[in-house]
């Protein structure tokens, strides 16, 4: 089994999920709770990776981060190495690719929080930020867990974007799905099968645990009606 690819995928998925938590929670909060004009445009932008072929997304990321782009040049001047075909480049692409898988469940969970509770918190003197962190986020926890699991699993399984932006460098951009693809290309079906089976079991266990947690928390926090 290609342990280095499995470890790399887990590392990538963990980093992606953490970044999505930091970026996605405020973004989802803004989408779900504010009534600013132009929200629909941001909604569509966030959902774009859902419908875009991964190769198209990968292509644009590649161009945007490439050695001739301002971002690519700035990164290279700062760190001394190019961002494309590196773990960092892959991370940027992963975050963009999994954005809707985190933000949409987050936003749905935030929108489902009783508006009354939010207004009550405001009247009790809590700022919008405090209301968000103390009331909205805790009450939306099942939806946040769902978003975390989905974006983690989605990142573990991504293929097209990795191929475009990361290439196939063992230990830095060669993820599980690329490894399986490689094994099949090399007619090593046994090795591909072992990795695939591991991924299957892993995905099932993660989803089963999530549903279990969701069900339990759903019972302990029924909204007062």
């Amino acid at each position: 089994m290609d342990w280095s690819a499995i470890l790399l995928s887990l590392r990538l998925a963990t980093a992606t999920t953490l970044i999505l938590l930091v970026v996605g929670l405020p973004l989802a909060g803004w989408l779900a709770l504010s009534h600013r004009r132009g929200r629909w445009a941001v909604d569509a932008l966030v959902a774009l990776p859902l419908v875009l072929p991964p190769t198209v997304l990968g292509f644009y990321v590649l161009v945007a981060l490439g050695p001739r782009s301002p971002i690519g040049q700035a990164y290279e001047a700062l760190t001394g190495s190019p961002i494309v075909f590196s773990f960092q480049g892959l991370l940027v692409a992963s975050v963009l690719y999994s954005l809707p898988f985190a933000v949409q469940p987050f936003a749905a969970a935030f929108a489902a929080v009783d508006r009354n509770l939010i207004e009550t918190a405001w009247c009790l003197g809590a700022s919008r930020v405090r209301t968000f962190t103390r009331i909205v986020v805790p009450l939306a926890r099942p939806g946040i867990v769902a978003g975390v699991v989905l974006s983690f699993a989605h990142t573990v399984g991504e293929f097209g974007v990795v191929l475009m932006v990361g290439g196939n460098l063992p230990g830095s951009t060669r993820t599980v799905s690329i490894s399986i693809y490689d094994d099949v290309q090399a007619f090593d079906y046994a090795r591909a099968g072992r990795t695939a089976a591991l991924l299957l079991v892993f995905s099932f266990v993660v989803l089963a645990m999530t549903y279990r947690v969701q069900r339990r928390s759903g019972r302990s926090w029924p909204l007062v009606s």
Binding site: D114, N116, E119, C123, G125, S127, P138, P222, L223
Partner: protein, 363 residues
């Protein structure tokens, strides 16, 4: 000393729906204002504008020296800066926080001092030993108490209650109504209570504003608004009724005698009542006669003069001055038969069972 609330604003929901409000309220003896009106009349909208949750299109809201809202100056203070207590119809308790955490949420203080304060407040609302419970583990009445406790903990300058008793089961409403009245009287903070229930209004309020068709039609002392509605709209929404303040002077065998001015009213009433009450008589329960009758066992019989006759469709609303102003609703033929005219002498008869008492103090 609490400050005075002055509000005059217009909020438009849709091109054809607008709510206009003119209100004045201060601490002191007449600090509980009831906003009364049927569902959809705009009571909650007014409350939400006062809280800063909705924004009016015109007018102003001032509290003491502070300007909370001014359409012309473009000022609209957010609810966080108004330091008021707003309790919504379903109480808005945070389900993931304990009773204590709920109460502490709005408090500025922290540490052992806050702990003491929470204990004091829990005692005030009779919830000792419940600090660690979650809202789902409480009864409806206890939830209301937690909501009030949380509101109180913030040391508010104005209390806004939206249908505070509507979420309670019927058997619980009576005792909670009394408790709420006592609570509102025990703190020297002006409050606005929204309700569509007559008994709630009479029990809780000192003054009352009647809303109908998006306007505040009448503001005044509570019994006055009930007894003397300005116009047909107000009369229709409060129900034509005589409401007068009185004192219980005697109580025996389920028959209570109440003194109202110089008159005495007999009431069939079994429950224990405080001395101070509102006497309520529905206009349709009053019978008018030309002369007093003999058999007055359990009836009230007062002789007085007609002060007003107001025809309203097939019926006539007659106001009789018999030591207090009594409203009677009789048919047109009956009115002609009795030869009623202004200043005519008439005898009003009301069964003792048709008179209702509403306590004004805690027994």
């Amino acid at each position: 000393m609490a400050a005075r609330l002055i509000a005059s604003f217009l909020r438009q929901h849709a091109p054809t729906v607008s709510i206009r409000a003119e209100l004045e309220l201060e601490a002191g003896d007449r600090r509980v204002m009831v906003l009364f009106g049927p569902s959809g009349s705009g009571k909650t909208t007014i409350l939400r504008c006062l809280a800063g949750l909705d924004r009016p299109q015109q007018g102003f809201i001032r509290f003491g020296e502070e300007v909370w809202f001014d359409a012309d100056a473009g000022i609209n203070r957010p609810p966080q800066q108004r330091r008021l207590a707003y309790v919504s119809q379903d109480y808005g308790l945070f389900p993931h926080l304990t009773v204590e955490q709920n109460i502490r949420f709005g408090m500025d203080a922290a540490g052992p001092q806050a702990r003491d304060r929470v204990d004091t407040i829990l005692r005030t609302v009779h919830l000792e030993g419940m600090a660690g419970r979650f809202p789902t583990q409480l009864s409806g009445g206890e939830r209301q108490r937690v909501a009030l406790a949380r509101a109180l903990a913030r040391d508010p300058r104005l209390i806004l209650l939206d249908e505070p008793l509507a979420a309670l089961d019927l058997p619980l409403r009576d005792p909670m109504r009394q408790e709420l009245r006592q609570f509102l009287r025990s703190i020297d903070v002006p409050s606005v209570v929204v309700t569509h229930d007559r008994v709630d209004a009479l029990t809780l309020g000192d003054r009352m504003a009647v809303l109908s068709g998006g306007y505040i039609r009448q503001v005044g002392p509570i019994h006055e608004v009930f007894s003397r509605p300005f116009d047909v709209d107000v009369a229709a929404s409060v129900g034509v009724e005589t409401v007068v303040p009185g004192n219980i002077v005697d109580s025996a065998d389920g028959l209570v005698t109440v003194r109202v001015g110089a008159s005495q009213i007999r009431v069939a009433h079994a429950a224990v009542m405080p001395q101070s009450v509102f006497v309520c008589i529905r206009a349709e329960d009053v019978t008018l006669e030309t002369a007093p009758r003999g058999d007055v066992s359990a009836r009230n019989q007062w002789t007085g003069r007609v002060t007003a006759l107001q025809p309203d469709g097939g019926v006539v609303r007659v106001t009789v001055d018999c030591g207090f102003l009594l409203s009677a609703l009789i048919t047109r033929p009956a009115c002609e038969e009795l030869r009623l005219a202004e200043d005519a002498k008439v005898t009003a008869v009301v069964k003792a069972t048709a008179v209702h008492l509403i306590p004004r103090e805690i027994p």
